[in-house]
Each structure stands twice: as structure tokens, then as C-alpha cells.
């Protein structure tokens, strides 16, 4: 586990040089950025030989070469376009007020990141770089330090009551070499709740971090679809800190993508809270999709649930690294984790590393990981009704993915996600 050999640091100038230094803001924000930069220099850039990167090659994220991904023609409406939401449009990772709604909402305080970080006294001080830094144990998450050091785009959101209208981050990519860094800070006050939706491809390469602080009895729902551009490179991290009786639910749909790494770092700090993180992806050929999840139970009677389902075809790779850490005293923990790969042929890889580390004695924790082909009984059932083989296989892919989609609480949102999946399958069977 702990390497005694001193690690040779990989240089960070490549990834730093891609981004302009953030302009000076308030003293506390500048300090947080400087601290992140200093921390990054002591850990170096991520490299393949790090255990934390053993299944996914971080080179694309680290390189100073431009990442190139020509945006797909916009031939379908954005996900969740039907939902009545406060829309925040970003073009190539840059906020575009002209294509966005008024920055206001009932029970919602909203500011750009730049504005919030320039304010001398702001609650963001207790979140920005703070949750990120707390999440650097036991493995450094270098790309999130980079994010703290250089991010200037993004929003600072605070729910002061139950916010009925979701906030939707609407991403539009226009430049084939766009390289975006985004940082969002979210605070959910006691008893308040908020839904955040994200849709689309952010940029040819992106590094997006959310820091989310949920107070007692608060709830945050997060659902995103990450676009379907083949060559895009996506790194995201969600740091969530949960108060007593609070709820955090996050769901991700990813289709295609040469390199995607989605991290979730969840910590229970108050009793009786629940966190559900789920996702499903599908890709064929040059597709690499990694979910890395770390859940820390440091309170009593909390429930955590991880559900990840990956559909892989002809050369695709799916990765799941998921850990549940139950600290001493975190009794009555209920931890569940399942990761499954649906292997549509022999040319694919599903790499799963489920881990439990438990220091309390009165807990229920279970984890499972399976991989295999389409369900033969289901296939026969559908064929025996006269459903053509290709359509029957698609139905079974949908059935497989749906166990993750079912984790979405809102039925209309879940149906939107189902529509994306069906659309993808239609295009791919036709082609």
C-alpha cells in the first residue's frame, strides 16, 4: 500500500502551462490557489505507475499537447431541455450569459465563481479548496489540485430553502481544441434542497470539479449526461460532504469518449445520511471510461450506495475503482456497492477494484462485481416473441443499464436519460 521507495515526481509544468494563472482575487481565494499549486508541486503530475491510475492512463490529462476533438453536429436536443430549469450555458467551458437565464431563483443564491472568489467575506471560503484538500487522503488527486489552482469558470450556488427549479449546466462545444477548467461550489443549507443537471460535452478536454457542502437535512440531486463525442477527454471530480440526515444523489450517463475519468469523493460527517452514486456508460472501440469512487463513513447509521453499469463493445475498456471506508465508531453503516460490465464481445476489458475497509463492528457492507455477456434467457424470451435479434439485444442492453438509471429519483429526468440511451442504440444498430 504505502510505497517506501521515494516516488520520482512527474513534472507538472505541462499541465500547468496549458492554463493561464488565475487573476488575483480576494486574499483567501488567492491563498487557496497558492496552496493548491504548492501541494501539486509536492505530489507531481499523475502517472501511470501510481496505483490510483493503474487502470487508466492519465497522459491525456497531463500532456501539454492540445487535445483535439471535433464537436459532433448538434443533431439532438440537449438532455433535460424539456425540464423547467435555470439554464447556465457554457461555450467551450466559458459562461455565456446571452444564452443563459437570469442569475436568480427562489431560494437560490447564485454567483459566478470569479465574483464569489473576489468577495472578501464569503461562505465559499469554507468550501473552496477545502473539500478538495480534505479529499486528498489516502491518495493525492492531482488533477483536482490543478483545478483549484487555475479554475476561473464556474458557479457558486447556495440553496437556502427547497429550490423547486433545477439548475442546468448546458455545455456547448464549438472549438476542436477547447481545453476547459471549471469549478463549482455548492452549499445546501439545513433543510434546503437543490437539483443540478448537466448536459453535453464541455470541451475537447475538460477538468471539472464540484465541491458540495450539504448541511443537516439538506438534499442535493445531481444528474448529468456527458455528451457522446468520441475524442473528448473528460476528468471530473465531485467532493461531497454530508451533514446529518442529508441526502446526496448523483447519476452520470456517458456515451463514447476516448478518455473519461469521473471521481466521487463522499464523506459522511453527520448521522443518518444517505449518499447514492450511480452511473452507466456505453462505448465501442476507442472507449475508456473510469469511475473512481471513495466513500468515507465517519458517522452513525449512514447509508451509501454505488451502482455502476458499463456496456462495452469491440475494444472498449470500462474501469471501476470503488472504496467504502468505515471509520471507527461509524456503527450501523449500510454500505452497498455493485459494478457490472456487459461485455458484448471478447475484445473488451472490464477492470473492477472494489474495496472495503472497515473499522467498526456493527455494519452491513456488501460489494459485488460481475461481468458477462447478454442474458441468454432474456434473449430467448424476446426472440421467441419474434423480436429480431438486433432489437432484442438492444432491449437487453437497456435492461442492463436501467438498473443504474433507476437510481434517479425523478421519473421525468430518468426517462430523458432512457431516451438518450435508446437513441444511441438506434444509431449504433443502424450504423
Amino acid at each position: 500500500m504505502v510505497s517506501v521507495k521515494a516516488k520520482k515526481l512527474a513534472p507538472t509544468d505541462g499541465m500547468l502551462s496549458r492554463h493561464a494563472a488565475a487573476p488575483s482575487a480576494s486574499g483567501w481565494a488567492d491563498a487557496a490557489r497558492a496552496s493548491a499549486r504548492a501541494r501539486l508541486s509536492t505530489v507531481g503530475a499523475p502517472q501511470r505507475r501510481d496505483e490510483y491510475w493503474s487502470f487508466t492512463n492519465p497522459t491525456g490529462f497531463v500532456s501539454n499537447e492540445p487535445a483535439v476533438s471535433t464537436p459532433l453536429a448538434a443533431d439532438e436536443a440537449a438532455s433535460f431541455a424539456d425540464a423547467d430549469a435555470l439554464v447556465l450555458t457554457f461555450v467551450d467551458g466559458v459562461f455565456d450569459p446571452a444564452q443563459s437565464g437570469d442569475l436568480a431563483g427562489e431560494g437560490l443564491e447564485i454567483q459566478t465563481l470569479a465574483d464569489a472568489l473576489s468577495t472578501d467575506i464569503h461562505w465559499a471560503k469554507d468550501v473552496f479548496g477545502v473539500l478538495e484538500e480534505a479529499g486528498q487522503n489516502p491518495v493525492p488527486r492531482e488533477l483536482t489540485m490543478l483545478n483549484t489552482a487555475v479554475a476561473t469558470e464556474g458557479f457558486v450556488l447556495r440553496a437556502t430553502q427547497v429550490v423547486a427549479r433545477p439548475v442546468r449546466f448546458n455545455y456547448v462545444q464549438t472549438s476542436a481544441t477547447s481545453d476547459a477548467v471549471m469549478r463549482n461550489l455548492v452549499k445546501v443549507d439545513a433543510g434546503a434542497s437543490l437539483t443540478i443537471l448537466e448536459s453535453g460535452t464541455i470541451a475537447a478536454r475538460c477538468n471539472t470539479v464540484f465541491e458540495i457542502d450539504i448541511a443537516d437535512d439538506g438534499a442535493l440531486h445531481h444528474v448529468r449526461t456527458q455528451g457522446r463525442d468520441h475524442d473528448r477527454q473528460v476528468f471530473t471530480a465531485m467532493f461531497a460532504r454530508l451533514g446529518a440526515r442529508s441526502t446526496y444523489k448523483s447519476f452520470t450517463l456517458a456515451m463514447n469518449g476516448v478518455l473519461t475519468r469521473n471521481e466521487q469523493v463522499v464523506e459522511f460527517t453527520g448521522d443518518d445520511a444517505a449518499a447514492h452514486v450511480a452511473g452507466t456508460c456505453m462505448g465501442e472501440g476507442d472507449f475508456h471510461n473510469d469511475d473512481t469512487v471513495f466513500v468515507t463513513h465517519d458517522a452513525v447509521n449512514c447509508e451509501s450506495r454505488q451502482v455502476f453499469k458499463k456496456v462495452l463493445k469491440s475494444g472498449a475498456t470500462g474501469v471501476f475503482q470503488g472504496k467504502i471506508l468505515v471509520k471507527k465508531g461509524a456503527q450501523k453503516t449500510d454500505g452497498y456497492q455493485i459494478s457490472q460490465g456487459l461485455l458484448l464481445d471478447d475484445e473488451v476489458n472490464f477492470l473492477a477494484k472494489p474495496e472495503l475497509e472497515i473499522y467498526a463492528d456493527d455494519v452491513i457492507c456488501s460489494h459485488g462485481s460481475t461481468s458477462g455477456g447478454l442474458d441468454e434467457t432474456g434473449l430467448f424470451y424476446l426472440l421467441s416473441r419474434g423480436v429480431p435479434r438486433a432489437a432484442a439485444q438492444n432491449m437487453l442492453v437497456i435492461a442492463f443499464m436501467d438498473e443504474a438509471v433507476q437510481e434517479i429519483a425523478d421519473e421525468a429526468i430518468a426517462d430523458d436519460v432512457r431516451g438518450r440511451i435508446a437513441g444511441w442504440l438506434d444509431r449504433h444498430s443502424a450504423g
Binding site: S384, R385, A399, D402
Partner: protein, 252 residues
């Protein structure tokens, strides 16, 4: 002849286990045949082999539907040729709406037969009407295929599929199992409504109860991979009263 099975021998593909050891069975159009027989005698296997499930190897014999050899056909082709199997254990398909599934199946079969596909409106009208007579409500139609259905609901859903697909040869594998008295009536009425000159049924069951509702023309007893006795409806009554011991002893 609607269904004509001759000397059918079947073993498992993966192991050297022979399950069907020379089944001979003919079912005429317009008739209802029942198959009874002890557990493990090969009844479900026969229905699977006819429907084209993987994992079995036909080592000898033949099976034809309206004169066409079906054993070389894909399961979906057999379906569009008019074969239907109501499963002993219907399968759950999460995320796929019952309606979507049914409409895909109906239209795929119509297309394969060179018939006009049903529009969404036409389909809806027919499915609503048929669902109503089986007491399948709108919610069940909307839900994913068989997910969260009770045992009886699953069986009713099988009959709805059969009613929508209008097959020529219907095989029902223990459709009565798990049904309460009322559901048994509903299902039987569903089946009887489909009885027709051009359609035949092969009803696999352990109990006379179902045959009180769906009156068979012919009853077969299957044991150890063969049809060992064939008779009229009275044969089912005999099984009900005395079990299989006498019959098996008689043919041994």
C-alpha cells in the same frame, strides 16, 4: 397437420445428458392437446426445443409446423411462422416498457410475414381492448416487461402477448401454476377466446383444474422423455385420481 413431431431425440449440448428419447406427437389445427407427466419428464424441454432455445442438440427426428421444418429456424422465425410459447417462468426485462416490447414483437412478425405494420394508434386500440378482458390495467401495460409483476400477473401477461401475436400453434407451459381461482378463469377465458379452426394448442399442466376450463381434445402422458400414453379427456381425470403409477406400470 399443425404440429408434427417425429421420433424427436434431444440431448443437452454441454453434457451427455439425453432428455427427449423419441417423442412422437401430432396436433391438428383447431384442436387442444394437453401434456401431463411427472416432474423432470421433459415437458418444458420439448417446448423449448420447439421454440428454438439454445443449449439443446437434436440428435434425431423432426418437427414441423404446417409442413415446414422448424428445427433449423431461428427462434424469431419460428415465431413469425406462428409458434408461440407461454413460458413457465416469464422473464423480467427492466427498462423496456411492456407496450414497446409488444409493439416491436407484433410489428416485427407482421413485417416478416409481409403484412402491413400497425400504427401506434391501431396497436393501442387493440392492446387496450385485449388487456381489458384479461384485467391488465394501463399501469401494467406501461411498466417494464414483467418487472414487479406478481406470478399471476406474469401469466396473464403471457396470454396478452399470445392474444396480440395471434399465433397458429400455442404452447402453454404450466400457465396455471401460481394462479388463484379467479386468475385461472381469466386466463382460461383468454385461451378459449382464441380457440379457432385455424389454431391449435398444446397445454402442459399438472392439474385437471385447468382442463376443466380449457377442455382438451386429446391428452398425452409424457414420462422419461417419451409420450407413453395418449387418450381422451378421461386420461387427465385418471391421473388426477390415481397419479402416474398405474399408467407407468402399464406401459413399462
Amino acid at each position: 397437420m399443425m404440429l408434427d413431431i417425429k421420433n424427436l431425440h434431444v440431448k443437452l449440448e454441454e453434457e451427455d445428458k439425453v432428455i427427449l428419447k423419441g417423442v412422437n406427437l401430432t396436433v391438428e389445427a383447431g384442436k387442444v392437446h394437453a401434456i401431463m407427466g411427472p416432474n423432470g419428464s421433459g415437458k418444458s424441454t420439448l417446448s423449448y426445443v420447439l421454440a428454438g432455445r439454445d443449449g439443446y442438440e437434436v440428435t434425431d427426428g423432426s418437427a414441423s409446423l404446417s409442413g415446414a421444418d422448424i428445427l433449423d429456424m431461428e427462434p424469431e422465425e419460428r415465431a413469425s411462422e406462428g409458434l408461440f410459447l407461454a413460458f413457465q417462468y416469464p422473464v423480467e426485462i427492466p427498462g423496456v416498457g411492456n407496450m414497446t416490447f409488444l409493439r416491436t414483437a407484433v410489428n416485427a412478425q407482421r413485417k416478416a410475414r409481409g403484412e402491413e405494420e400497425l400504427t401506434a394508434g391501431e396497436f393501442l386500440k387493440v392492446v387496450r381492448e385485449k388487456a381489458k378482458s384479461l384485467k391488465i390495467d394501463a399501469d401494467m401495460l406501461k411498466r417494464p416487461v414483467n418487472v414487479g409483476f406478481s406470478g399471476g400477473e406474469k401469466k396473464r401477461n403471457e396470454i396478452l402477448q399470445m392474444a396480440m401475436l395471434e399465433p397458429k400453434m400455442c404452447i402453454l407451459d404450466e400457465t396455471d401454476s401460481g394462479l388463484d381461482v379467479d386468475a385461472m378463469k381469466l386466463v382460461s377465458e383468454g385461451v378459449n377466446a382464441l380457440r379457432d379452426e385455424g389454431r391449435a394448442f398444446l397445454v402442459i399442466t399438472h392439474y385437471q383444474r385447468l382442463l376443466d376450463h380449457i377442455k382438451p381434445d386429446v391428452v398425452h402422458i409424457m414420462a422419461n422423455g417419451r409420450i407413453v400414453k395418449t387418450g381422451g379427456p378421461e386420461l387427465a381425470l385418471e391421473v388426477e385420481q390415481n397419479g402416474y403409477a398405474d399408467i407407468l406400470a402399464e406401459v413399462a
